[in-house]
Assembly symmetry: C2
Homo-oligomer: 200 residues x 2
């Protein structure tokens, strides 16, 4: 399994995303969460407790064309992931509508002040109550205190965490690259060798 290599700048903490509560009907949603993790600068994605080869295949296909090295794991019990993460000195952030509001509180500032690698837990409707406890989550963060989507929560959290810089990143190993257009579509072949990982 490839090691994570996509960092936004050498001093930026690594972010891993743990997806909890994946069910059959959530297949597409979990794929979107994993694609969001990749596109918004995470370096590691863990589908906890269950396995889903279809999700893995979709992510692999996207990386084959568009580059990046999101480390993908699945089937690992969530408790084991959290325990290991904490043992390595990492911080755990649980995204939940019940947590501290990302805009109206100083929670993001406090997370950043830790200067540590971050494991972001994204759940679904009914997560174990332990997720809210200090034993599991150092921070419970609400991307607004309204029900919506784990996909939206993850995107906004990462965008704010990396201050939007992740969306300008280039991805190593890309075969294709989009040239942004006001109107129309423009896709070019990327360099044969790895595309330079822009430090931003």
């Amino acid at each position: 399994m490839a090691e994570p290599s996509k960092k936004i700048s050498p001093s930026t903490p690594n972010v891993a995303v743990l997806r909890w509560g994946h069910r059959e009907r959530d297949k597409r949603l979990t794929t979107h969460v994993a694609l969001t993790a990749r596109a918004f600068g995470a370096s590691h994605f863990i589908l906890a407790d269950v396995r889903d080869e279809k999700v893995e295949a979709t992510i692999a296909k996207v990386m084959k064309n568009w580059g990046g090295k999101l480390r993908f794991e699945m089937g690992i019990p969530w408790k084991q992931v959290v325990k290991k993460w904490k043992a390595k000195g990492g911080v755990v952030v649980h995204l939940t509508a019940y947590g501290e509001n990302i805009h109206s509180s100083d929670v993001l500032k406090r997370i950043k002040a830790k200067g540590k690698d971050v494991l972001v837990i994204v759940g679904s409707q009914k997560v174990p109550s332990e997720f809210f406890s200090k034993t599991v989550s150092d921070f419970n963060v609400a991307i607004g205190n309204q029900p919506h989507s784990e996909c939206s929560s993850l995107a906004v959290f990462l965008d704010l965490f990396f201050r939007g810089r992740e969306l300008g990143m280039e991805f190593e190993g890309a075969k294709m690259r989009i040239i942004p257009q006001a109107h129309g579509k423009k896709v070019v072949k990327a360099l044969d060798s790895w595309v330079r990982n822009k430090q931003i």
Copy 2:
């Protein structure tokens, strides 16, 4: 059908979201897109071309408990929605990975400078090429030039458009309200009458 009433401040433009390309397998995703529209400050959601009563029922249930007045419509041909919107002087923004990058270009500034109501088109993988043309979209906006999720794109776009203020909003007619907590869950009954629509 209720008229949209949830505005972030009286001078803030109204945002409507048009979801294109909903298929059977996208049921949950479309629900998440609609919930994101509501939670991130849109006042109107249109499921274009097709009908899906299940999506409508989920949104209605969320509004019954958590308030808000997202106007929900479905089955209207997308061309008709766009035509009507433009005739009323509104601006059309198409979210696409091929568009101008929201962070590294000035596209958001140009959209805001218009000071007009905004129709945000969120598609799926294969949208009609017309979406990219000037006839349909005044702006093509990329929430990063990488493939990920229409749900993530919508959330980040609205969060940046409303400058995060939408996530502190209170919703009219809510039965329940979350009191943000660092650890644990706290939900209180909202006022019997409409909760004050906080002007932010």
